[in-house]
Structure formats: structure tokens, C-alpha cells
Amino acid sequence: MSSIKKLLFAGTTLSIVLLAACGGTSPTAAPVATSAPAATAAPKAAEATKPADKPAAGAKQITVWYQFDEKNTDPKYDERDSAAWLRKTLPLFNTEMAGKYTLVNQPQAFDKMGLLVVQAVQGGGEIPDVMTSASGGLSGLLKNGTLTDLTDWIKAQSWFATLDPNSVAACTGPDGKIYCVPTVSSPILVYYWVDYFPGGFPKTTDELVKVAADLKAKKVSALTYFGSTDFGGNAVGRYFYTAVASFGGKFDDGKGQMKLNTPENIAALTWMRDVAVKGYNPETVFAGKFQEEESFKDASAAAFPTGLFGYRYVNPLTSPKGTKYETKTSKDMIDAINAGEVKLASFPAGPGKTSGCGTDYGTLIIPKGAKNLEGAQAYINWLMDPKQNAEYVFGPGGGIPTSSATAKDPLFSTSFYKQGIAATTGLCTTWYGSLTNTPDAAKIIATAIYNIIKGDVKSDIATVLTKAETEYNKANQ
């Protein structure tokens, strides 16, 4: 080989090496993935990099990061309902605050928002004034110094007293300070096709297994759920924790340590493994990227434990009778519920236990370094007004209000909400409890549970759980 060739070869390979060294490590240098994997990710996330619309003369700009884009009017857009809400409320806010503030949305993919804000804060990028975050994602933001302490301000607001104390606790860091404003609770419950459960949805896991065997004979899966390790272990907060909690289990010891090897968890995982091994779920549950929804949409699966927000994404629908709900909007699920073909229920309870329910809180945060702190606070105040808050919770929030004042709004007296509230009230807890490194915990727990129920169904459950908890506790001393 000639020396020029060698030089070229060495140069190319050295460049690759250096790219490997810098790619994905430095928050200031990390490239943003151009293709978000999430079914719910905003397809026009790239627009976020465009310069924001100019505020009206004299008005200060408030930059908000939502996972939806009000400019996207594509009827197939996953976040079309949320986008419609913003199309309606953004001018409303700007009119009310004319001359003072102008709100500008910079849409971001939901699973990249955390990373992007850390990059912005640490790397000196454009920091939003306010953005959304699930309470489960706060620990990563807190560790990276991205959150503004809101304690004094939030306690001084009139709506603070109306907030559910559990939601405030979810916004409170290990140092006792409040870092977010909880707007909505997103509990996990079961959507089910009524026709498959003529005797009502099973109250216990034993009853469910009996029905599941009958359904399997009719080539219908009893349960579909998000069971992959996709999205950094997102499954943990959904079916995984809800099923475990229904056997009285949990993932922490209440003192910040992971505790998985408990009799309750082992009982739950034995049942979950049984369901998977006997084929009471479709194979799509392990395929990731929210593929499991398809089986509920075409009624090849009878029940779907997912977030209350699921109604926004699971459409169009074809019922077991063949009725089609095809507006391809959240209206489809609401119509199916109003028609009595779909109902909501609590997850069945394990033997001698009560139903469990995982929840996460949708929150608003003000990142450290936000240019318009006052504007951000003004926007949050506006959103927490019961009327605006109700529409937010009903629209993009897709959950149950954290504010008791908002809960009185007639929007929450519909059949859908009545069922949802009845199925979850007093049952729900966060999956992470006292764990402080939730991204790490989610990945470790999701991988362990996946391995138990699908990866290696002959493995010793206690051994797998002990290994997982040791790994987390060792890495997070």
C-alpha cells in the first residue's frame, strides 16, 4: 500500500476514533438525534431550532417547550389534539397579556426534552422559560443542575393549597425543595372491551387468568401492554409497576435504596411470567415503539393496562362486534366509551391484596437560566387558573387534575372521567418511590422484569431481582 493510501487510511480512522470519543458524551457537544423513535414524538421537532416568532413590540417573549407543535395540522399527527389545544390557547394568552408577554412554543420530541434542556443549561444554549416534564424524569434534571428552586414562589400562589399533596411530594427533591408545578396525574388503569368480559372486568388476578384461558381459545389475547425495554425502561411506570403494586409490591425500601427481592414482588412476577408464558398477551407487547396498541385497536386483545392518557393515542378502533370508530382522533375512544363498548377498570388485585396503580405527574418546570422568569411564572399562573387548567388537563395533560379546584370543572363529570377517577382514586403511587436516580432505576428494573417474564422464563426470579438491586445500589451509593 502506498504511503499516501496509508496516510489517508490513518486519517480517516483517526477521525472515526475522535468522533467516537466525543459523540454522546459531552452534553455541550452532543448531536441531537434527527429521528425520534417515539410514536408520540413531534415530527416537526427540527423547527425548534428556528428562530422564535418575534414578540409584539414592548412585550417580553416567553419561550415554552411542549412535545407538540401547534403549527402541525396534519390529521395523522399523533399529538393533533394537544396541538389543537395550543392553537386555541396560545392566541388567548397572548391577547390577555398583550403588550406584556408573548408566548412562543418551540416543540421538542418528548423523549429528548430532558437531554436538550440539560445541553442548553450546561452548554449555554437557548434555554426555554418554561417546559413540561414528567415527575419521573426530574431526578436526572436535578442531578444535572437544570431546575430552578420554586419553593418560595409556589407556596405563595393561591392555587398551591388546592394541589394534591402527593403531587407536591413528587415535585420535591431530596433536599426538600420544590422544583416543579404538578399539573396532572397520569394514572395507569385498564381499558377493556366490554364484550370480552360479560361478567364484568375481573377483580382479581386469578379471575383474569381464568378468563384469559377462555379468550385464548377464541384467539383473543387477554392483555396487551407495553412490555419492552424500549425508551429507557418506560415500561416500569406502566404495566410493570401497576401489576407489581397489585400484589402489594414496590421497588424501593423507602430510604433511597432499591429493594426488589421481596415476597410480594416475586409473587407478582410469577403471575406476570405465567401470563406471558401461556400466551395471554400478543407478541407485539415486547416489540417496543408502542406496537402493542395495535392489538387493542383491532380488538385482538381484550384489555390494555396503560395511562389514562391512552385515549389520545389508541385510535382508530374496531370493536369485537365490528363497530368502527374511525375519526382517528381521541374522540374514537371517548365514543367507544360513551357507546358502552369500552370501559375503564382498576388492575385486578393479587390474592388477598387490593388493586395497585402506578402514576406519574405531568409537571411544569422553569429551567435554570431562563431569561424570563417572571413571564414563566405568569404563564404557569395563567395555566393554573381552574378554567385554563381544566382544558389543559383534559387536552394535552390527558390525566386527572392535581388541583381540587380544577377537578370541579364539568369536563371531569363525563362518563370517561367518572370511570377513570373511580378506577384509580386512592390506589396510585409513583413507581420510583424514594429512588433518586430514576433513569438508571427504570432501565435496570425494566431489564430485570423483561428477563424474568420473557427473556429467560426459567431463571430464578429472586436471583435476577437481587442482581438488579445490587447493581443499582452499588452504582448509586
Binding site: 500500500m1 490513518a10 434534571l141
Partner: protein, 327 residues
């Protein structure tokens, strides 16, 4: 005359220093021409590279960096996901390099014959190369999504394992032969290797084809006159002459395979479970998913070391090129 010559040869005031300046400029001209590129490289490659090394010794706590020495390295190396990931990367690289090289070599040999429409074949074969990893991965995924993918029923046949066949995306790996090594791999790993090879074959084919076309026809004709048949000509003439290109191709594939994340991201997302969580994907999830920048930086430094070892090997082998290969 002599006086005139003396006058001519006498330097004017300031000429000496100008000459020195000119000679300095001409000597350093390559440096000045390279400077803009070096500056760009420094900003986009060297700075983040060295910053990553710095970051690998730090831990963020409440936004404040704290020096932790080699703690991030011990956390990464001590995690089961890292050891599994190293083995999975090795399996992926072996499968990817062997499949790509063998298919590319076969296709290149085929195209090296004077065929009708060989230009068209070459164009068609090149299509996968122009697709992005993300798009290629998504397309392959759509083919095999359980229950709904076009090819899912084929693999669900009992031919692939009784009674329900396999699902390329979700069937977990068989029980490992030993506790320490996740072998044999999951069907998803074969899918990943196939998809990655499908994407890489065109470029490697072109490389090998170019090398094949440099094999002197006279040598082959002489060998034929001397009684060498096709196999002997290939074994003793064509193949040894193409080996340097194969070495370059192999290291190109290996380095690209270690560092590439797009295909894993869009095709398997590391799953099922962690069955396709190769090092580059682990790096991605640690840094971008879990926001553990210190640990991710430590992993990237470890990957750099692996890359450097491979480069050293490549350079060594390419050096031995001049001394000839022995088989």
C-alpha cells in the same frame, strides 16, 4: 565589470530580511494552508474529544462537577450491561464483517466479469448505500414486526422452531452456553447483522471491484498458459492481490460497526431486552437517555482505546502489506 558585479551582488538594505521572510513563508506555507482545517478539526473533534476525557473523571451533583477519579470507569466496567455489551459487540462485528465481506467479494467477482448491463447492476446494488441507517432500520423493522409485519408469518412457521416459529424482533436468545457470555445470540442480532450488512455491501463491493480491476490480465493469462485453472488463478494470484483492499475494508467495517448507532436505534432499540445492546447503543442510552454524562464519557474513552487498538492492528497489517502476505 568587476566593480559592476560587485555592486549587483551587494544586497539592498532590507532585502536580506525580506528573503528570510519569504523563505520562512515558503517553508511554512503548508502549515498556513492546513491551519483553517486544523482549527475546524480542533473545534469539532479535538475539543469535544479531550473534554470527554475530562468529563470521564467527573460526576455531576446538582449541576456541580466533582472530581471522582476513575470511579466512572469502575462503575461502567462493573455493570453487567457493559460486559454483556462487549460480547454482543464482538458477535455483531464478527457477523457483520464476515457476511459483508463474503457477499461483497462474491458480488464483486460477478461484476468483474464482462456482463451485459453491469452498469445497471452496479447502480441498483448501490441503492442501500445512499439510504440513512435510520431509514434502513425502520424499513427492516416494518417487515418483521410481530403479527403485523409482511415477513412475520414466514418466521412464525414451525420451520423456524416449534410450535410458533420465531419473531425476529421479540424472540429472546436461547439459554447461554456459559453464564459469562450471552451466546448464542437472539434472532434480533441476526436481523441486525443482516440489515447492517445489506447497507454496507455496496460500498465494500465497489472497493473490492476496484481492486479486482487492478489485477494485471497478463499475469492471469500467463498463469492460464502455464496450466493454472480458475481456482488456482484465484487462490494464487487474484486473492493475494486483493487482500490489502480486504484488510482496509475489514477495518473500515469494524470501526464503522463499533461506532454506528443508527441501525440499532431504529431497528431493535437494543432489544429484545438487551440482546442487541452493543457498545455504541449503550453509550447512547447512558448519555442521552439516562443523562449520566460522566459514565458515558468513561465508556466513550474505553471505546476509543478499543478503536486505537484496531487502528494499530490495521496499520501493522497494512505495513506487512509491503512485505507480502503469507497464507
Amino acid at each position: 565589470m568587476a566593480a559592476t558585479a560587485q555592486v549587483v551582488s551587494k544586497p539592498k538594505p532590507g532585502m536580506h530580511s525580506r528573503r528570510i521572510r519569504q523563505s520562512f513563508l515558503s517553508r511554512t506555507l503548508p502549515f498556513w494552508l492546513l491551519l483553517p482545517s486544523l482549527l475546524v478539526l480542533a473545534v469539532i473533534q479535538f475539543y469535544p474529544g479531550f473534554y470527554s476525557i475530562f468529563l470521564s473523571t467527573q460526576d455531576y451533583q446538582g449541576g456541580t462537577m466533582k472530581y471522582v477519579g476513575l470511579q466512572n470507569f469502575s462503575k461502567v466496567i462493573g455493570s453487567s450491561s457493559f460486559t454483556d455489551s462487549v460480547w454482543l459487540t464482538l458477535m455483531f462485528l464478527l457477523g457483520y464483517a464476515i457476511l459483508t465481506l463474503s457477499v461483497s467479494f462474491t458480488v464483486a467477482l460477478f461484476l468483474n466479469r464482462k456482463l451485459r448491463l453491469s452498469g445497471l447492476y452496479l447502480t441498483v446494488i448501490f441503492i442501500p448505500w445512499v439510504l440513512s441507517d435510520i431509514i434502513a432500520g425502520l424499513v427492516f423493522r416494518l417487515f418483521v414486526v410481530p403479527d403485523y409485519g409482511l415477513l412475520a408469518p414466514v418466521f412464525a412457521s414451525p420451520l423456524f422452531g416449534s410450535p410458533d416459529g420465531i419473531s425476529l424482533l421479540t424472540t429472546p436468545p436461547p439459554s447461554p452456553l456459559t453464564e459469562a457470555i450471552p451466546f448464542p445470540p437472539a434472532p434480533a442480532m441476526f436481523l441486525l447483522i443482516f440489515a447492517a450488512a445489506w447497507k454496507a455491501v455496496p460500498f465494500i463491493t465497489l472497493l473490492i471491484l476496484a481492486a479486482l480491476q487492478t489485477v494485471p490480465r497478463e499475469v492471469l493469462e500467463s498463469a492460464s498458459i502455464d496450466g493454472a485453472n480458475g481456482i488456482a488463478s484465484f487462490r494464487f494470484i487474484t486473492f493475494p492481490l486483493v487482500v490489502p483492499t480486504l484488510v482496509v475494508a475489514m477495518f473500515n467495517l469494524t470501526l464503522g460497526g463499533i461506532n454506528g448507532v443508527g441501525m440499532v436505534f431504529s431497528l431493535t432499540n437494543g432489544g429484545p431486552g438487551t440482546a442487541t445492546e452493543v457498545l455504541s447503543f449503550l453509550l447512547y442510552t447512558l448519555g442521552f437517555g439516562q443523562l449520566e454524562f460522566g459514565r458515558a464519557a468513561a465508556l466513550s474513552v474505553l471505546m476509543t482505546v478499543i478503536n486505537l487498538v484496531l487502528i494499530a492492528l490495521a496499520l501493522r497489517m497494512s505495513h506487512s502489506d509491503s512485505e507480502g502476505y503469507k497464507f
